[in-house]
């Protein structure tokens, strides 16, 4: 299954920096690469220590590949306006983030928008925490 043609290199500067995870490191991700994937949510796991979004991406032959995106903890995301129902199974989304180094279909996600253009709350740290 060839999903690589569907990786679009996004413009990194559009992304807000998302800090390293609290519970485990970020060494697994290639922060020098940024990808955007159009997919369909198959599971939204709003669980500690980190939220996982499972989604499928279709290739040129309409074959679906299973992907997983990791984000912050629900504690941090809920303080930015996320909840366990922000994403639902079947939602069409575009996820932008850094892929893993080992070639697995996984990424750390920095931005999620719905295919119809609606935005989700910011995935970064709570507002004004940098003062």
């Amino acid at each position: 299954m060839n999903w690589r043609p569907y990786l679009a290199v996004a413009v990194s500067c559009l992304l807000m920096p998302v800090p390293g995870f609290a519970h485990h490191g970020t060494a697994e991700y290639d922060n020098s690469k940024t990808v955007s994937l159009h997919g369909t949510v198959t599971a939204f796991k709003y669980l500690n220590p980190h939220v996982l979004i499972d989604f499928t991406v279709k290739d040129e032959n309409n074959q679906a590949a299973e992907w997983t995106a990791e984000s912050q903890s629900p504690n941090l995301l809920s303080r930015r306006g996320w909840s366990r129902s922000t994403l639902k199974v079947g939602d069409e989304v575009i996820l932008t983030g850094h892929p893993v180094k080992n070639g697995a279909r996984a990424m750390t996600v920095q931005k999620v928008v719905f295919a119809d253009g609606r935005e989700t709350p910011n995935l970064g740290l709570p507002a004004d925490s940098s003062k």
Partner: protein
């Protein structure tokens, strides 16, 4: 008329004395120091110029006793360097799952590392004691301010034995009895169980709390180390549940999936 004046003066004096005595008593009963009550979030701002875009707020900047930033590795003793070699922090070729970082095994982070996690903390004042509740890992510290000394011959613990006193509006806390199993940060910086941590907590303005931290561990380091951490007041927040062991339930499969290939290690 005259006697009435004398009586009214006497009443005024009596009332004033009573008021003054009461005021004096209230003053004596008032709590010492400042009030840190509430929930605070670690600032990701550039405390001591610490933050980097990749890792804001998740590392300390260390200063030497003269206040100069320490560049490169921390100044370890031969004992400290040996201990450092045994630590496997995450890095370009070391996955979380291959690291022996005690944090990844859900052990309490110790002092001062607990301040590096991007989760809020709460201060609770009680008579003779200040409690610090940490959302991350549900750790608790209690700093005794009732004049007691350190526990004699105490078995080292993950969060140590803390006693404190007020110097004006600054709480000065000394912590000893820390296990040598914790690190100073994600970089695997070690310490011994002789570590002595002195923290100075001060509300530098209404919304900001600064913690000045000095670490003295002559067994592991050739000089005392100094750093800072700033917290921002969050009046509308409550602490939430964060159970580290959820990682084992929810996340191990994912960590295996994203593991850095062994051949590059």
């Amino acid at each position: 008329m005259k006697s009435r004046t004398v009586i009214s003066h006497a009443i005024v004096i009596a009332l004033a004395s009573s008021f003054l005595a009461h005021a004096q008593k209230s003053q004596q009963a008032a709590p010492q120091g400042a009030d840190f009550t509430g929930v605070w979030y670690p600032s990701t701002g550039a405390t001591l110029g610490a933050a980097t875009p990749d890792n804001p707020g998740q590392q300390f900047v260390w200063l030497d006793p003269e206040g100069k930033p320490i560049k490169g590795p921390l100044p370890m003793t031969p004992w400290g360097r040996e201990k450092f070699k045994a630590n496997r922090p995450t890095g370009p070729s070391t996955s979380s799952i291959d690291s022996n970082d005690p944090d990844f095994q859900c052990f309490p982070s110790g002092v001062p590392r607990i301040y590096l996690f991007l989760y809020p903390i709460e201060f609770v004042h009680t008579p003779g004691r200040l409690l610090i509740l940490f959302e991350y890992g549900h750790n608790i510290r209690q700093i005794f301010t009732d004049g007691r000394g350190h526990l004699p011959d105490a078995e080292p613990t993950w969060m140590g034995d803390s006693i404190g006193h007020w110097e004006g509006d600054t709480l000065v806390a000394e912590t000893t009895g820390l296990t040598d199993k914790t690190w100073f940060g994600y970089g695997g910086q070690p310490h011994s169980d002789a570590l002595r941590v002195v923290e100075r907590f001060r509300r530098v303005d209404h919304d900001s709390l600064m913690i000045d931290i000095t670490l003295d561990d002559p067994k592991a380091y050739t000089m005392p180390l100094h750093t800072q951490k700033k917290y921002v007041w969050k009046p509308d927040w409550n602490l939430m549940e964060f159970v580290c062991e959820d990682n084992l339930l929810n996340f191990r499969d994912y960590e295996k999936k994203v593991e850095i290939p062994k051949k590059t290690q």
